[in-house]
């Protein structure tokens, strides 16, 4: 049978893949947003695995709220991205150095 540790190892592998994706695609903001979604999916899998093996529904409720917050985050992030492209003509993260000291 599949143990809890198998799910934990799986989600930690996917978490690290998402983390590496942020570093690899450092200049592309859309890819960074998608890697954040990947990391959230890994974390949610962790929550649900603990919820299943602990017979406690609180983990699934937590995943529900994480999904809500992630959807709001994506909507606002993509709106900011569209605004940035409109103002600067590029979504390269190296162009956005206005606030650099």
């Amino acid at each position: 049978m599949i143990a809890l540790s198998d799910y934990l190892i799986l989600s930690s592998i996917v978490f690290c893949i998402g983390l590496a994706g942020i570093f690899i695609n450092r200049t592309n903001i859309i890819m960074i947003l998608m890697c954040v979604e990947l990391i959230l999916a890994a974390v949610n899998t962790n929550f649900i695995a603990f919820s299943f093996y602990g017979s406690d529904l609180a983990g699934q409720i937590f995943v529900f709220f994480i999904l809500t917050v992630a959807a709001a985050e994506v909507a606002i992030g993509l709106a900011i991205l569209t605004l940035m492209y409109r103002n600067r003509g590029s979504i390269d993260i190296d162009v956005t150095n206005t606030l650099k000291g």
Binding site: A71, R86, D92
Partner: protein, 204 residues
């Protein structure tokens, strides 16, 4: 090996493999499509964990709404700029190094054995009459009803913020112009017309 174990390994293979292809993909649109496959396999894994409501929610919200939003933005913006591709391999060693450190740290915790089948064990099996949606709804509308309403307000704020950020042209709405109202003169609002007496008699 049981059938559910085989399913677990197949879905895990898709989960890890498609996410690996996604982060190494140079085309952003293709990366979004691979991320959709990742979400599907994650939803399948959640089904194995008896979280049916969340699995359906993941497919409906993420694949149906969020990834479509991503595809819209990818197709509208010029993401194929050459500067985006040039620095692809520049941060590859750093990325591999950081993820290896995290993998080693997590492996040290997970290999210690507190989450093994002997320690944790399998949960109680639910009967066929068990409904995950009913169980979640009972929790959500009793214990977590206040956070649930806060989540609704959060989504409303997100809608308002997104519309306010990208909204460019003036809406055709009726609104007050205060300075125009203050500076108005009587001649702007009233018009004195000289009425001919003969024409008024003739109309009688």
């Amino acid at each position: 090996m049981e059938f559910t174990s085989i399913l677990f390994y197949v879905f895990s293979l898709f989960f890890v493999g498609s996410s690996l292809v996604m982060i190494t993909s140079r085309n952003t649109a293709k990366a979004a499509l691979w991320l959709i496959l990742t979400f599907f396999s994650a939803a399948s894994l959640w089904l194995l964990l008896e979280a049916e409501f969340l699995a359906i929610t993941l497919i409906l919200i993420y694949v149906g709404a969020v990834m479509v939003l991503f595809m819209f933005v990818i197709k509208m913006l010029d993401t194929e700029a050459s500067t985006l591709r040039a620095q692809f391999t520049r941060y590859l060693p750093l990325g591999i190094f950081v993820s290896l450190v995290v993998i080693v740290q997590m492996a040290l915790v997970l290999n210690a054995g507190p989450f093994d089948l002997e320690t944790v064990g399998l949960p109680d099996q639910h009967g066929p009459s068990y409904s995950n949606i009913t169980a979640i709804a009972q929790q959500l509308y009793t214990v977590y009803v206040y956070p649930f309403e806060l989540a609704a307000i959060l989504l409303l704020i997100a809608i308002i913020a997104a519309i306010t950020l990208v909204h460019r042209t003036q809406l055709n709405s009726k609104k007050q112009n205060i300075t125009e109202q203050i500076n108005v003169q009587a001649k702007d609002r009233m018009r004195f017309a000289s009425i001919n007496k003969k024409s008024t008699k003739g109309s009688k």
